[in-house]
């Protein structure tokens, strides 16, 4: 950015630098050079001084040399013709008896990013690779990578690659690691540096000599090595065992990632490694640096996806410190919600309760949301706290609490009565309109004052700005009319009249017209349409979080993924998905939907192939299950296999059918939810075995299939595959 008077400044500097008196006084001369660099950092364009700076590079003062080189590297690409003048000095320095000068010159010469540099640097680099000083070799090795990046499209120089592979045996550890880095860049198009058995073992043996940065980098390179046998695998793991407990978090975490990857076929080893690393991970969660703390928390969250119990006893570590920034507190609360169990629920709730009155409204609302999620398991205790919060009469708190009530009623229908009672008592000062209106509409029969509250909204309609609230009001009023017609009829009429005649928002008007025409068709018709499916208590089997396999997250472990927004917490995903079925969610479900070619029904002979695809979350499954119609219901003619449930799960996985949830043990009725994908369609299914002693129901398994988009051929294929698996299991177990 141009500063005022910058041209004057540059002119003055130029005068000073070319003044022979200044040049004679080394200290003054250096001071001017420092000044140039200072302006350069501030963003001033001082490239006009290039000539004078080139002259200044011919000095014995290394500190001054470094400053001038920094300057030249910055502006070399702007002034390539002038930069060529500097090359002679640099090449001379590359032959200096002092290794520090040699290294410095070589490094900076390679940093000149301008075309045609290669011919000047190739010879010094090759010489540098054989230099007796390790400092120069380090620089020369990376110089090879820099040279390659200057002309990325040329052929790879085989001799240099071979030389770099040979230098992997260098006594200096930094040279070794630099070789790996350089080879990785040069051979990028061929898949990077090759880690074969001798190299892997050589690196493993050198691990102890490396500093922590090199260690974690080598561990990352080793990720691509596959041991030939289990013996070799366990040798490697025992060699690396001590690094799991490293005092440097980045080494411990990199080791853990390698363990998880190498031992992917040995879950017990993975569990051991996780247990070992839990201590360093927890220590990072309490580190003095808050950035490190945040990184630690994000990775703890990842580990908990597979091993929710690992940190259970340490739940107090995740209590928020009062001076911590909000984003750390958010993560800690998310973790606390996952760690709740029968023993600690009282303490955790007490802690979360104390965050609810925090000065930051976002934090307070997040704390209330956390309590709301715990309420899905421990509804009574949480309801007490949430109700108590309503007494504070603060807008942001009340609105968050009512939203939680809405979710609670949906997920745990058994708490409806208690919620309605509380809402009844608090509605004198309505806050969060949408959630409250939904509650009033859905459960108007249990809240005696509901019509009067709604009337208040209808009367204040002219001042209401949000169209979402108006639409919700329309739906809620129609629902209310269905259960309490006498009290609602009049105001519903006024509402519809206003929305159809005076409302300017087209969406609201259309919704009002829709309601109006529905009501014209008669009450029964309306009831069928408006009162959609109530939440199904048996779906609660889905809300319990299942343990994910480690492989699901191991690939992003120790990368930026968990820290950046793309790995959002599932909690926010639920809310947005519940509010509006976003098209993005569907895209994610059907990644190949763009090239869907629905197979015509006549080619039934074609073999159906199932595939797993990306996993479905419980929430999306539940939503789709409620939305879709049952396409096929079939009685299998045999009971469910008497095998252990994980056998069943593994068998289904084998034929590419994913199990989402099932009733544990031998409880009756027994249910399981499964899904799979096939040529652009997603198939959801429920297996149900009813009570065998109940009259009219035989003990055979019933399968109900839903699908999106519809493809009968795929369903038939799916059912026959499923049948095959279950029959096989039945034969095995009997």
């Amino acid at each position: 950015m141009p500063y005022f008077g910058s041209e004057e400044m540059v002119k003055e500097l130029k005068r000073a630098l070319s003044n022979p008196n200044v040049q004679a006084d080394r200290l003054r001369y250096k001071n001017y050079i420092t000044k140039v660099i200072r302006y350069m950092t501030q963003g001033l364009d001082v490239s006009a001084l290039f000539m004078d700076m080139v002259k200044a590079s011919a000095t014995v003062d290394i500190a001054q040399k470094k400053l001038v080189y920094l300057y030249m590297c910055t502006y070399a690409s702007d002034k390539p013709d002038l930069a060529l003048l500097a090359i002679n000095t640099l090449r001379k320095d590359c032959a200096d008896p002092n290794p520090m000068v040699r290294g410095l010159a070589l490094r900076n010469m390679c940093n000149f990013r301008m075309p045609g540099m290669t011919e000047y640097i190739e010879q010094p680099i090759v010489a540098g690779l054989r230099d007796k000083a390790s400092y120069v070799r380090r620089v020369a090795v990376l110089g090879c990578a820099k040279m390659h990046s200057l002309q990325p499209n040329t052929d790879i120089d085989g001799t240099i690659v071979n030389e770099l592979y040979a230098l992997l045996r260098d006594p200096d550890p930094v040279v070794v690691v630099n070789c790996l880095r350089a080879l990785e860049e040069i051979l990028k198009d061929e898949g990077g540096v090759v880690i074969n058995k001798p190299i892997a073992h050589h690196l493993l043996n050198r691990m102890k000599d490396l500093d922590s940065w090199a260690q974690s980098e080598v561990l990352t390179f080793l990720l691509r090595y596959r041991p030939r046998s289990d013996d070799e695998l366990f040798d490697i793991l025992s060699l690396l065992d001590s690094f799991l407990q490293s005092a440097h978090a980045h080494v411990a975490v990199a080791t853990l990632r390698l363990f998880l990857q190498l031992a992917s076929a040995h879950p017990a080893v993975q569990a051991d490694a996780l247990l070992c690393t839990s201590a360093p991970l927890l220590a990072t969660c309490g580190a003095a640096s808050r950035e490190l703390r945040f990184a630690g928390l994000c990775h703890v969250q990842q580990v908990m996806r597979s091993q929710p119990g690992l940190f259970g006893t340490h739940y107090k570590r995740f209590f928020c410190g009062y001076s911590e920034p909000t984003y750390i507190k958010f993560r800690k609360m998310e973790i606390l919600v996952e760690l709740v169990n029968d023993e600690n629920v009282a303490l955790v709730l007490e802690e979360l309760r104390s965050y609810c009155t925090d000065v930051s409204p976002e934090l307070a609302q997040a704390a209330i949301a956390a309590i709301g999620r715990i309420a899905q398991t421990y509804s009574e205790k949480c309801l007490d706290i949430l109700t108590g919060l309503l007494a504070l009469k603060q807008d942001h708190i009340t609105s968050a609490v009512i939203q939680m009530f809405r979710d609670l009623v949906w997920f745990c229908p058994q708490s409806t009565a208690a919620v309605c009672q509380t809402v009844e008592a608090c509605v004198d000062s309505p806050q969060d309109s949408e959630a409250l209106l939904w509650l009033l509409g859905e459960h108007g029969d249990q809240i005696s004052s509901a019509p009067y509250v709604m009337e208040g909204y209808i009367d204040g309609l002219k001042t209401e700005l949000s169209s979402a609230v108006k639409m919700e009001l329309l739906t809620a009023s129609v629902k209310m009319f269905l259960c309490r017609p006498a009290e609602t009829q009049d105001m519903l009429g006024r509402l519809l009249h206003y929305c159809i005649e005076e409302e300017s928002d087209v969406c609201v008007r259309d919704r009002a017209l829709l309601c109006y025409r529905l009501l014209q068709r008669g009450v029964e018709e309306t009831r069928k349409v408006v009162t959609g499916p109530k939440s199904d208590p048996s779906m609660s089997v889905l809300t319990g979080r299942q343990e994910e396999p480690i492989s699901q997250w191991a690939s992003t472990f120790n990368t930026l993924g968990p820290l950046s927004g793309c790995d959002l917490c599932p909690q926010t995903a639920v809310i947005s998905a519940a509010d509006q079925p976003s098209s993005s969610a569907e895209k994610e479900l059907l990644p190949e939907s763009t090239d869907v070619t629905l197979s015509s029904p006549d080619d039934t002979e074609e073999e159906i192939s199932l595939s797993l695809g990306p996993p479905l979350s419980h929430e999306t499954f539940e939503k789709m299950w409620l939305d879709l119609e049952i396409l096929q219901r079939q009685t299998m003619g045999f009971p469910r296999p008497r095998t252990a449930l994980d056998t069943l799960q593994a068998a289904l996985q084998l034929v590419k059918i994913q199990t989402l949830a099932f009733t544990p043990g031998a409880t009756v009725p027994w249910k399981a939810y499964i899904y799979t994908r096939s040529t652009g369609t997603l198939i959801l299914a429920e297996l149900l075995q009813g009570d065998q002693h109940a009259p009219g129901i035989d003990e055979s398994l019933v399968v109900s299939v839903k699908q999106q988009p519809v493809n009968q051929h795929a369903i038939r294929g799916f059912v026959s595959i499923l049948k095959g698996v279950l029959q096989t299991l039945n034969v095995d177990s009997s």
């Binding site: 920094l70 630099n178 980045h250 309490g286």
Partner: protein
């Protein structure tokens, strides 16, 4: 691999900028600064992305230390590297501030040049780096032994039982100039961070101690040093406590250069410290506090109507605070934050001594009570009358939890002590050894 590294002041001034790979233009600094200042408090700023370029940053000394990258590296590596860069800057410049970075930018460029090449971390060890660093540090403040204003912040125990000024350790490690560079000193600090939650009935709900032993070494070359810890120190939960007041920690981790062959039997750490600051040992103790919590609070909160007819009401907050430290010790810079109901307008207070202060911060919905010195065994009380128009009985729920911050010099809560500090073979008497202890409150919360 790292694409660029830059250091920004809190106002966004460019202090240091180095481009390692030439992949991105200098504009990315401004992009970063715009992104980081546009964030609201609840968004995590540690990793931010813009068009395929990821920014990872750490805040140290009020500055932004930023690395940008186009690959997907380990966040732990980058964050720890940025922290290490800040620590090295502190070692070389003496202190960490916008001013010291501005004055020593040539030195920091030199450091960065040696630490990172083409985006790859080469070395961060002081021992190696000191061979390459040519520029001398410019101290941002003149060092003076007569600057005694802060004496006693750190207690010091030495063979001469002298007290070192607290600024003694904040000077550049490499300096050839006479009076400040000539001193061969070594500081060993035991620093503990206390994180405590006390329940409404005075019950200890949570108590964690994170501790570390740090060495700051100014000796140009140091042979092996032996640090003797308490002999009765026990590690881990399994070891039974005897009748004695054994000192216990749950787990500890050591710097990789520490030799532990005498640790198991004699609790002696052997280390060859390199110049500058390094953490030789980190330890933690969870869910247990070997001593009584340093502060107990006895609060009472009442509602009082001044004039019921005009609805003028106030909250009376009476706080009695007792310091349970041994009588000889003192807590410093004690500050107590009490959340008050929303809509509090003004406050009057009765404090027991003139050096204490209290103020109402309506923006934070809190009142802040500050006590500069709090001797052990003492008890202080204060009465606050907060005017809250339109107070309801539920509003009292908003008072609490109380959080405190303080500093306990010459104190460790675990009881960890350094028995002796020996340099072997014994060097000339020139070297001075200082041992300092301090406990900070990381988070000290008392529920009402």
């Amino acid at each position: 691999m790292i694409s660029q590294i830059f250091i920004l002041s809190s106002k966004g001034d460019h202090l240091i900028y180095k481009d390692f790979r030439g992949e991105e233009s200098k504009d990315s600094i401004n992009v970063f600064y715009e992104m980081v200042t546009a964030l609201s408090g609840d968004q995590p700023p540690v990793v931010m992305s813009h068009k395929g370029l990821h920014f990872i940053h750490a805040r140290q000394g009020g500055l932004y230390w930023v690395a940008s990258t186009k690959t997907n590296p380990s966040p732990f590596t980058i964050i720890e590297f940025l922290n290490r860069l800040a620590a090295l800057t502190k070692d070389y410049c003496g202190s960490l501030s916008e001013k010291s970075v501005r004055m020593n930018f040539a030195l920091i460029y030199e450091l960065l040049d040696e630490m990172v090449d083409f985006g790859y971390i080469q070395t961060t060890s002081t021992d190696i780096l000191k061979n390459f660093i040519q520029t001398e540090a410019v101290s941002s403040k003149p060092f003076s032994l007569f600057d005694l204003s802060n004496v006693g912040l750190f207690g010091a125990e030495t063979q001469q039982s002298k007290v070192a000024p607290s600024v003694a350790a904040s000077r550049p490690i490499m300096s050839s100039r006479g009076e400040q560079g000539g001193k061969n000193e070594i500081f060993v600090d035991v620093i503990e961070r206390l994180s405590v939650v006390i329940g409404s009935k005075g019950v200890l709900m949570k108590a964690d101690i994170h501790g570390e032993i740090k060495i700051k070494c100014f000796l140009p070359s140091c042979s092996e040093m032996r640090i003797g810890l308490n002999e009765e120190l026990s590690i881990g939960k399994s070891q039974l406590k005897g009748y004695s007041s054994a000192v216990r920690v749950d787990e500890c981790r050591f710097h990789q250069a520490v030799k532990l062959d005498e640790f198991d039997t004699f609790r002696i750490l052997k280390v060859c410290p390199s110049q500058g600051e390094q953490t030789v040992m980190q330890y933690q103790l969870c869910d247990e506090l070997p001593c009584a919590p340093p502060f107990q609070l006895f609060p009472s909160v009442e509602k009082d109507y001044v004039n019921r007819s005009v609805n003028l009401s106030m909250v009376l907050i009476f706080l009695k605070l007792r310091c349970d430290l041994p009588p000889k010790s003192t807590a410093l810079n004690v500050s107590i934050t009490v959340p008050v109901p929303k809509g509090s307008t003004s406050m009057s207070q009765e404090l027991s001594s003139p050096d204490q202060t209290a103020e109402l911060q309506p923006k934070n919905k809190a009142l802040l009570w500050e006590i500069p010195r709090f001797p052990g065994g003492a008890q202080l009380s204060a009465l606050f009358k907060v005017d809250v128009p339109g107070l309801s009985s539920a509003s009292l729920l908003e008072v609490g939890p109380v959080s405190m911050s303080f500093e306990l010099p010459k104190q460790t809560c675990t009881g960890l002590q350094i028995r002796f500090l020996r340099l072997s073979p014994t060097q000339t008497g020139l070297s001075q050894r200082w041992v300092r202890y301090v406990t900070h409150s990381d988070s000290y919360t008392i529920r009402i």
